[in-house]
């Protein structure tokens, strides 16, 4: 294991300063901050990844179907997306979590539902540009089914922007989950999670200690890092070259 101590292991007094044993000091219960950051990464990042993938599955599938089928189905999906997007995300999440309780499955599903309309809109727009091409007409006239059209003809031509969007979306999902944890409705203690770690140690900020800033910094660092990767992927996928 990378982490030197257990996730919920109390090893020293509360708020102990950093030393050779505890690289980042201890939290409000005397647990090792460094170990909890590492465990938190697994929970928060893993959860965010899961939620983003689910959001993409729903959004992209909906977008592709809407672009291919068109007509009333397209209209219906578009309005559905509008309805979800019109509700402020945090309020929607809080509402759902208070109704269904705060277990991990509910968090993942709720966050995925919140972010899927954005994926839906992007996919529909990208696929919309592809479905008007002559090669799609040729495939339709050949008698190919909708599923073949989506999988073989449209998807290969829409992946580049979708991959880039995946990175961006991941950041937003991650921030929302961290925000929910900070409010106490996300991942429940004693499970380590960056958002709740900020909250648990928040009182310390008034004493001029940096402990609550550490998980906050981790959140910021991850967000910026993912954005850099996304920028690089966008650059690669757009085929732009410096002249």
């Amino acid at each position: 294991m990378i982490a030197p101590f257990g996730e919920a292991e109390v090893i020293s007094s509360a708020f102990a300063p950093p030393d050779a044993n505890m690289l980042l000091g201890a939290d409000q219960l005397g647990r090792d901050m460094f170990s909890r950051i590492i465990y938190g990464a697994r929970n928060t990042v893993g959860l965010a990844l899961l939620a983003t993938m689910l959001a993409f599955l729903m959004g992209a599938l909906g977008g592709l179907l809407a672009a291919t089928k068109g007509g009333w189905f397209d209209q219906f999906m578009g309005r559905l997306a509008d309805v979800i997007m019109s509700v402020p995300s945090l309020i929607f999440a809080l509402l759902m979590l208070s109704i269904f309780g705060t277990n991990l499955t509910v968090i993942v599903v709720v966050v995925a539902v919140i972010y899927s309309p954005r994926v839906f809109r992007l996919t529909r727009a990208v696929a919309g540009n592809v479905v008007v091409m002559d090669y799609i007409e040729a495939a339709k006239l050949r008698g190919e089914g909708t599923w073949y059209l989506i999988r073989k003809e449209i998807l290969p031509n829409s992946t580049a922007p979708l991959i880039a969007e995946f990175g961006l979306e991941f950041c937003f999902v991650f921030l929302l989950i961290a925000g929910l944890s900070f409010l106490g409705l996300g991942i429940q203690p004693p499970t380590a999670d960056w958002g709740s770690m900020v909250r648990e140690n928040a009182t310390l900020i008034s004493f001029g200690e940096i402990t609550p800033l550490i998980p906050a910094a981790a959140i910021a660092l991850l967000t910026v890092a993912v954005n850099f990767v996304v920028d690089w992927m966008l650059f690669r996928s757009s085929g732009l070259k410096e002249v």
Binding site: D134, K140, L141, V243
Partner: protein, 550 residues
């Protein structure tokens, strides 16, 4: 031959480099060019010959990703390669003007035509707004635009393509430049519209004694316009000569091959007769509409096995719409389509797999007709797999066989992607995809109009060979009558959604014609420098504008 006058533009050993794959590659290899005041020089060559690049370079301009790497461009005593960008900008628009291929794309749709016209004269403080507007109307008069006093106050989308191209020429004239560069100004226009634009350009260039560089790939057009013709190939000069001499006896092999392209002709076939002769496709009295707008009105024609029926007409005449009705993409509102004597369901969704297989389509733009992310073997293999259930080794054999048919080496092309192919090769793959279904009938929608003449001829020969081999019936949609002459057996002339005349080709090309057929036929430029002059005299000069609005 233009008498020796003052030299206006002198280009010596011009070299231009383009940036690709992270390297600078020379694309224009030392071109010399001399243009006198009032002279018109025609630049011709296929795509990639460097025509447009040289045209732009005569304004001291290199496109993004290009740079002028050597040689000199001297315009009226001024060396453009060393002139600072600011001075060059003052020169462009006022003394050198540029007319682009697509006027529709070059006008800003958010401003009125006259405001765009007067921008340059006002900017350069040559005229005040009111004067500039009056001058614009004067130019519109001279270019014989309809309602010259009023047309400038419309937005670009409110006037037709030919009128827009003339308005653009007027705009180029706004500052009375010494030199105008015409970059394929009529390529995107129908033959009937092309005439008026050509006449207008020639007129106005004459009136103001403006020098011009006329860039085109159409020899017959350049023959009407230019005093001198320069033939280019891959950034190098092939030959240059005065127009008449160039047309009479070209020296170089390449020029001769360009001249000879239009000579491809195959014997005309007769309709089969007898009781068992059933047309493969019979269109019977179909009407069609987009929304509430009726676009087809009682269209009927038959196509027999092994024959080519050319459907001709201007854009908007309903040629492609007819094809969409036959394929079932746009169900007709009235009438029916018979296939081998049996009625086809109107919507393609209701047709059987076998009905879909028998009628295939080849598209105009091979770029958008082939999925760029699918390998050639899969593009061609899919119909074979889909209809005949071939897979594994049998499928590969079939794909190789098809690649051989379209004269592409299977070893080289089997696993490549469409973007790696040239325009002609892509079109061949499009043909192979249609053949893979083993059809009886193929719709060819303007298959050669996006290609260079030499490449187009190769495609036509290929289609002809395949027709003989497999007894295919073609419905050949085109606006190019030269193509019709070379491969059609029967011709259907369409105008505004109606069939105005139809019959065997030789009948169609001999008078008497329907007036519209006559207009179409006489509008095709011929390889005779006096053709335009003669034609205009025959029609009466005032008729040009009307001809276009037919």
């Amino acid at each position: 031959m233009v008498p020796k006058k003052d030299v206006l533009l002198e280009i010596k050993d011009l070299r231009i480099e383009g940036y690709s794959d992270e390297k600078w590659i020379e694309i224009v290899h030392g071109i010399d060019l001399t243009l006198h005041k009032g002279e018109v020089l025609g630049l011709i060559g296929e795509s990639g010959a460097g025509k447009s690049t040289i045209g732009l370079a005569s304004m001291g301009f290199a496109r993004d990703g290009c740079r002028i790497s050597g040689g000199s461009i001297e315009f009226d005593g001024m060396e453009l390669t060393t002139t600072p960008e600011n001075d060059l900008r003052a020169l462009r628009g006022s003394r050198i003007a540029y007319v682009a291929q697509s006027a529709a794309a070059s006008f800003n749709p958010a401003h009125r035509i006259i405001d765009q016209h007067t921008e340059a004269p006002i900017q350069y403080r040559i005229q005040k707004r009111v004067e500039a507007q009056e001058d614009a109307m004067e130019l519109y008069h001279r270019l014989r635009l309809p309602n010259p006093d009023e047309i400038g106050f419309r937005y670009p989308h409110q006037v037709s393509g030919g009128q827009l191209q003339r308005a653009m020429t007027a705009m180029a004239m706004a500052c009375r430049p010494d030199l105008i560069i015409f970059d394929e100004p009529t390529t995107a226009l129908d033959v009937t519209t092309q005439i008026e634009v050509l006449a207008a350009i020639r007129d106005i260039v004459d009136q103001f004694n403006t020098a011009a560089i006329y860039i085109t790939h159409d020899l017959a057009v350049v023959a009407q316009m230019a005093d001198t013709i320069k033939v280019l190939l891959k950034g190098e000069e092939v030959e240059e000569a005065p127009t008449a001499q160039m047309l009479d006896k070209p020296k170089e092999e390449y020029t001769k091959s360009l001249w000879a392209v239009r000579s491809f002709k195959r014997p005309q076939k007769q309709r089969p007769t007898g009781a068992d002769a059933v047309p493969i496709v019979s269109v019977q009295g179909i009407d069609a509409a987009y929304g509430k707008t009726k676009v087809l009105d009682d269209v009927s024609f038959d196509i027999y096995p092994g024959m080519t029926v050319a459907v001709v007409g201007e854009s908007g005449s309903g040629k492609s719409t007819t094809a969409r009705c036959i394929t079932g993409l746009l169900p007709p509102t009235k009438g029916k389509i018979l296939f081998k004597g049996e009625e086809l369901p109107a919507r393609y969704q209701d047709r059987s797999k076998d009905q879909l297989r028998q009628a295939q389509m080849i598209y105009q733009m091979a770029d958008t007709a082939l999925n760029p992310k699918i390998r050639i073997c899969d593009i061609i293999g899919r119909p074979a797999q889909f209809y005949s259930g071939l897979h594994g080794g049998a499928l590969k054999t079939r794909v190789d066989e098809l690649l051989d048919l379209i004269e592409l080496d299977p070893a080289k092309f089997y696993s490549r992607y469409p973007p790696e192919l040239s325009g002609g090769q892509k079109q061949r793959v499009g043909i192979a995809r249609a053949l893979a279904a083993d059809p009886a009938f193929i719709i060819c929608d303007e298959v050669t109009s996006a290609l260079d003449q030499l490449v187009a001829e190769g495609i036509l020969k290929l289609l002809d060979r395949l027709q003989q081999e497999f007894n295919l019936a073609y419905m050949f949609i085109t606006h190019d009558l030269a193509t019709v002459r070379s491969i059609a057996d029967e011709v259907v002339v369409m105008q505004r959604g109606k069939v105005v005349e139809q019959g065997p080709k030789d009948e169609m090309f001999t008078p008497p014609h329907h007036p519209y057929t006559d207009l179409l036929l006489s509008s095709v430029p011929e390889m005779d420098p006096n053709w335009l002059t003669t034609l205009l005299e025959e029609r009466g000069v005032d008729d040009i504008g009307e001809a276009a609005d037919v």
